[in-house]
């Protein structure tokens, strides 16, 4: 059986797997789709009933950090941002969706970039989570105050909730990243 080698300058048939970088690879599509769905599902399903925060407290944050710390900033930004925004849309608070896309996307991006520096040492994890969380809290605050017009009071009232969410989400997310890497050693290379 002979395989025809395309001659110089000749248009190659557009088939994936022949080094054609036109599309993102099927592995990436599957991984991103699953991480996005997981972020949305966890955000919607794990609302921890806790009276002082009116029940908005959820562990979706943990998935944003998990994606960013395990698979890098691209996964963190896309899956974290889009997944959380989808959760907002489906959960019925669509007006937050654009803000969430920006806030969680930035959070995933920043924690992915910083958290994987130095080969993902614990210190880098912590620094990534702190910087990413700070971005998220700031963007939510600015957007609620200036853009959505909540006013200064309600926007400030949201800050402690968001900080608690980042703290717990960051801890759970880094624990998750650590345990899942133990369970599946081939991950995140």
């Amino acid at each position: 059986m002979s395989t025809e080698v395309p001659k110089e300058g000749e248009e190659r048939p557009k088939i994936l797997g022949s080094g054609d970088a036109e599309f993102i690879s099927p592995e990436t599509v599957a991984l991103f789709a699953v991480l996005t769905a997981l972020t949305a599902a966890i955000t919607l399903m794990t609302v921890i009933p806790f009276p002082p925060t009116r029940g908005y407290f959820n562990l979706g944050e943990a998935m944003v950090f998990f994606s960013a710390l395990t698979f890098g900033w691209r996964a963190g930004a896309i899956c974290g941002g889009v997944g959380s925004a989808i959760a907002d849309l489906l959960g019925g608070w669509g007006m937050f969706a654009p803000t969430t896309l920006l806030a969680k996307g930035t959070e995933g991006f920043v924690s992915g970039v910083i958290g994987r520096m130095n080969g993902g040492k614990p210190l880098a994890y912590v620094a990534g989570i702190v910087c990413g969380g700070a971005c998220m809290v700031t963007i939510y605050f600015l957007s609620e105050w200036l853009f959505l017009g909540f006013g200064l009071g309600p926007a400030i009232a949201e800050i402690p909730t968001n900080i608690a969410q980042v703290t717990i989400g960051g801890t759970v997310g880094s624990l998750l990243s650590y345990s899942v890497k133990l369970a599946m050693p081939s991950l995140g290379k």
Binding site: K14, L16, G17, D20, E22, F23, I24, P26, E27, V29, A30, L31, F32, A33, V34, L35, T36, A37, L38, A41, I42, L44, M45, T46, V47, I48, P49, F50, R54, L59, A62, F66, G83, I86, L89, L90, G91, G92, W93, G94, M95, F147, L148, G149, F150, G151, L152, G153, P154, A157, A164, I168, T171, V172, L175, L176, S179, V180, A183, M184
Partner: protein, 262 residues
């Protein structure tokens, strides 16, 4: 289960038949209008208009109630908290300790509450009338690359699946004496790790299978895509798009060109 409700319901109203792009445009223009309006009466009028559209979506009372419960909670929160932080203006209505509640602040609080109400309710028109499939299709028509669109469509499809996975793993761990409903917030969250690790591992295995499936179904084999369902703008869609634009442009021109207070 604290799960979520599928906001979309299958109906045959004119809003359901509209092109998803037009509905997205309407969400943007109505939000922009709510952003520039500053008088409470015009904002109330806009809110009434949005609620009328919401009634026209023909959704069940249960869904509308679910939606409005959330919106009203937010509006009350803003109305109450605003005057506490905004102490400018006179006359002072009453004082609680060092806090002065002034009349203009109360009005400003009510105005922003109505504005937030507009921001919040306008999304329900989109979510009540657009299926996830159409939403993704609209986004790809707006220029989202199809591979990202595919990832988005797949993730929409997997959200309920993973929801069920989380539920069953939660039950399985509860059967092994895991406590998720007791203790401090910190303790509860830490206990959730034992639920999330199996969930994530299951999901990543799914991702592996999914990538094999995509390859076996010739994902990306041809550059020019064809679609089973084609979304096209009909005359009705152009009229609706024009109306959506005018809803924003007319008050904007009146405000900024003719100086009308709205």
């Amino acid at each position: 289960m604290t799960g979520f409700m599928d906001l979309y319901s299958e109906r045959d109203t004119f809003l359901h038949r509209l092109d998803p792009r037009v509905k997205l445009l309407a969400v943007v223009t109505i939000s922009a209008l709510a952003f520039i309006l500053s008088e409470i009466w015009s904002l109330l009028l806009l809110l009434a208009f949005i609620l009328l559209l919401m009634a026209l979506t023909g959704s069940s009372f249960r869904k509308a109630f679910f939606a409005l419960k959330f919106v009203i909670r937010f509006m009350v929160l803003i109305t109450v908290l605003w005057p506490l932080f905004d102490r400018s203006g006179t006359p002072v209505l009453f004082s609680i300790g060092p806090l002065d509640i002034t009349e203009p602040a109360v009005w400003r609080g009510a105005t922003s509450a109505v504005r937030v109400g507009c921001f919040a309710t306008v999304w329900y028109i989109l979510m009540f009338t657009t299926s996830q499939r159409d939403l993704v299709r609209g986004l790809t028509k707006l220029g989202l690359r199809f591979d990202y669109g595919l990832a988005l469509a797949i993730s929409f499809r997997f959200i309920p699946t993973f929801g069920l996975t989380i539920e069953s793993i939660k039950d399985a761990q509860r059967a092994r004496a895991l406590e998720l409903d007791r203790g401090s917030l910190w303790r509860r969250s830490k206990n959730y790790v034992t639920v999330l690790v199996p969930t994530v591992v299951t999901a990543l295995r799914t991702a592996h299978m999914l990538s094999l499936t995509l390859q076996s179904r010739a994902y990306g084999a041809v550059r020019e895509r064809t679609y089973l369902r084609e979304v096209r703008m009909g005359p009705r869609d152009y009229v609706a798009a024009a109306v959506a634009l005018l809803v924003f442009l007319l008050p904007a021109v009146a405000m900024y060109h003719f100086g009308v207070q709205l």
